[in-house]
């Protein structure tokens, strides 16, 4: 099982703790997903049309986009034919390999956060309503504070009732300054203020919250473009990161979200939240495959330190580790 071995080796170089977090957070996802696959392999000894149809369903049930799945199935069929694979067990590794391949197809997109060494780094958060932007900002502020960085938060969601207060609670919880104005004020103005404050305080990182908005609301989307312009005018080449937050329970609409937000704000990365539920987060594969936007972080729980850098290897290993272990037996 050379492929898994390779995967395992890269992972073992990383800390045990991180791997465990992934395994733990993804346990629900992994259990249902890989047990379904195992079940499939148990029932189908030989590879035929029905086998592929059921495999298609399992992948679709993980919210991997329909197009991506159809593509994958076609490739698998081709591969099976080429290598003359008859037994389903022989196809097991090919499937995982293909899944990682689809994820990697976007090329070597960096998953690192573009942190400026000696000047202020601005990170802008965008996304639809209720995906967890404010919570993620709280967690991220905590992460950078732990690394000894000086963090300022900008309460740019001036629309939703209670959003400013929510960010303030997070600010005091993790120990970061929050720049705010009255509810209903211009978000671009709040962020402009925050940049000034961050400079005065010699902060390392400024994280900007924005109100959730559905991607088909043109006015709200151009408001985002404006916010981005204001930041760029103050600090050339900023924001250094525009992170789109996507809820792991989201279905096919996640692709449209990524597409439109990317057009309006040049999204540089994705944060996939609520992955500790039963949602599969398969949309990640689809987004990466069709839009070449890398996932940079995943939210694996409600605690302060439940934000983890995303790692495709970890993710796939988390999904398939049971399969791998059963392979070894």
């Amino acid at each position: 099982m050379s492929f898994f071995k390779k995967l395992k080796e890269t992972i073992s170089r990383q800390t045990e703790q991180v791997t465990n977090k992934f395994k733990e957070g993804l346990s629900k996802t992994r259990n249902s997903f890989s047990s379904k696959l195992n079940d499939l392999f148990a029932r189908y000894r030989t590879v035929d049309e029905d086998f592929f149809e059921e495999l298609e369903e399992i992948l679709i049930s993980a919210d991997v986009g329909v197009n991506t799945v159809l593509e994958l199935i076609d490739e698998l069929k081709f591969e099976a034919k080429r290598k003359n694979i008859q037994e389903s067990s022989e196809l097991r590794e090919v499937i995982t390999e293909k899944l990682v391949e689809i994820y990697d197809r976007g090329g070597t997109l960096s998953q690192d956060v573009n942190i400026q060494e000696n000047s202020l780094t601005v990170i802008l958060f965008v996304g639809v309503n209720g995906v967890g932007k404010t919570t993620t900002i709280g967690k991220m502020a905590h992460m950078y504070l732990q690394q000894g960085k000086n963090v300022v938060l900008a309460a740019g969601d001036t629309f939703r009732a209670g959003a400013i207060e929510q960010l303030e609670v997070w600010g005091s919880r993790v120990g970061a300054d929050v720049v705010r104005q009255a509810s209903g004020s211009d978000p671009a103005a709040v962020i402009y203020d925050a940049i000034k404050t961050a400079r005065e305080k010699n902060a390392d990182i400024l994280i900007c919250d924005t109100a959730g908005r559905l991607q088909n609301k043109v006015n709200l989307m151009s408001e985002l473009s404006k916010i981005k312009r204001v930041i760029d005018r103050e600090i050339p080449n900023a924001p250094h990161e525009v992170l789109l937050v996507i809820d792991a329970t989201t279905g096919q609409n996640g692709l449209t979200q990524a597409k439109v937000f990317k057009e309006c704000t040049d999204v540089t990365g994705i944060v996939l939240t609520k992955l500790d539920g039963t949602a599969k987060g398969g949309i990640v594969l689809a987004i990466r495959n069709e839009l070449q936007v890398p996932v940079k972080f995943v939210g694996l729980g409600e605690k302060m330190d439940d934000l983890q850098p995303f790692d495709a290897g970890q993710f796939v290993y988390g999904l398939f580790s049971d399969m791998w272990e059963s392979d070894r037996d």
Binding site: I60, G130, R173, T278
Partner: protein
């Protein structure tokens, strides 16, 4: 990314059978594959899709389609009928307690929109039932959730019952009940914290609240964008609490909303309301047939017509029609027309409701900038009355004046005039076509 509607998909498939006259059972099978993909793309759960397709193909193979001369339409008709049927017949209302207060519990995952919906529902009940509602802030976990509900309450002028975030939700609800009774309030809408359906401890807490308050309604609030996982979520909540209904939120987005079908088929409880916007009056009753059209990507003509009827002034429309026929359409009328269309809401929303709009080149992904419309308005409003009635008198000097007055440029004015002339020509053609028909043009903007 091809989010084509089912209608388009089937048409494509049928191209292959063109000239074949009647179609065979195998052809139906191929069409069923398209139905299946369309539903999967709309996020309907794959298990639900499987059952559904089996049901539809049974009907399709049984004569209806085979004999039909327009098999594609026939398949769509069957699919739509079955979908509407599956999502429940009529819309249902909130069941009211014999003895006030009626208790409504709002439950769901994090970020589904419970707090916002709680406010909207109270607002709606106050309007339709002339009721006195009470909002109960029982989300003690999410930072500032109570604050959010209190702000909404203040905006709406509806009382909010809160004991801060140090008291247990069960106790809050217990005391709220007493408060509601003492103050003779009719409805008590309980906003609970968002929780994962696999979080046993928090699910247990909901059960406690249910046992204590004996609610008349337990509404599951679900994000319309939810994917395949919707069934798991709905099932867990239903198994633990016994839901009485569902509220589908964020339906003003561009999601197909196949989750509606999945949830309905898992819980067998009706979808009672849909959230259609961020404002406090954007909660509407659920219409199964419209949802079916939406899932299939067939546009939502009914909603559009309803909206148009509500906002278009009938007399003005007739007047306009006459003007168009007699070719007396002026820039002033153009402005009126613009104002009427804008009353229908954001233009791109309207376009989305038109069937097939996503197929017309240049119209899918169209983003109409409301600002541009404002610019047009500014230009026309900067003209004199004589100019508006006869734009031909506009010379360079006049145009310069208008440009200054409206803050736009002369080329922009020229563009507008050209567009206006073109649309006049088009109207002449269109009204020419409909001559002889009694009704003529009902909706001048279409």
């Amino acid at each position: 990314m091809a989010f084509e509607g089912l209608a388009d998909r089937l048409q494509q498939t049928l191209q292959k059978f063109k000239g074949k006259g009647k179609i065979s059972e195998t052809d139906v099978k191929e069409m069923m594959r398209e139905v299946r993909l369309a539903l999967l793309e709309a996020d309907v759960n794959f298990k639900v899709v499987k059952e559904f397709v089996a049901k539809v193909s049974e009907r399709a193979v049984g004569q209806e389609v085979l004999k039909s001369l327009t098999p594609a339409q026939q398949v769509i008709k069957i699919v739509k009928e079955e979908l509407t049927d599956l999502m429940g017949g009529e819309q249902s209302k909130i069941s009211i307690a014999k003895k006030s207060p009626t208790v409504v519990m709002m439950v769901g995952l994090q970020g589904a929109g419970k707090t916002t919906t709680t406010g909207k529902l109270a607002n709606l009940l106050r309007k339709t039932d002339n009721a006195k509602p009470l909002l109960v802030a029982a989300d003690i976990y999410r930072p500032a959730a109570i604050n959010q509900l209190e702000t909404l309450g203040k905006q709406l002028g509806i009382p909010v019952f809160s004991l801060g975030d140090k008291v247990s939700p069960v106790e809050i609800v217990e005391k709220a009940l007493v408060h509601a009774r003492e103050n003779f309030l009719d409805f008590m809408i309980v906003d609970t914290a968002g929780r994962l359906h696999i979080d046993e401890q928090l699910m247990g807490e909901l059960k406690q609240i249910k046992d204590l308050s004996n609610p008349n309604e337990i509404l599951l609030v679900v994000d319309a964008m939810t994917g395949q996982d919707a069934v798991n979520v709905a099932k867990s909540f239903h198994d633990t609490l016994g839901l009485s209904g569902v509220v589908l939120t964020k339906l003003d987005g561009d999601t197909r909303g196949g989750a509606a079908l999945s949830i309905r088929s898992v819980t067998q409880t009706p979808i009672k309301y849909v959230g259609m916007g961020e404002k406090m009056d954007a909660l509407e009753p659920f219409h199964p047939d419209r949802m079916a059209s939406r899932i299939l990507g067939m546009g939502d003509v009914l909603s559009l017509i309803e909206k148009a009827q509500a906002s278009v002034d009938e007399d003005m429309a007739k007047d306009l029609e006459k003007k168009m026929r007699t070719n007396n359409f002026t820039l002033e009328d153009f402005l009126d027309q613009l104002a009427q269309v804008r009353k229908l809401g954001p233009l791109e929303d309207i376009i989305k409701m038109l069937p097939g709009a996503n197929k017309i080149k240049g119209l899918n992904n169209i983003s109409i900038d409301e600002k541009q419309i404002k610019h047009i308005e500014a230009i026309i409003l900067s003209m004199t009355k004589a100019e508006k009635q006869d734009p031909n008198i506009l010379n360079a000097n006049r145009k310069k004046r208008i440009a200054r007055g409206s803050g736009r440029s002369v080329p922009e004015i020229n563009r507008l005039l050209k567009q206006f002339e073109e649309s006049k020509k088009m109207m002449k053609m269109m009204t020419g076509m409909s001559k002889g028909k009694k009704k003529g043009m009902r909706f001048p903007f279409m």
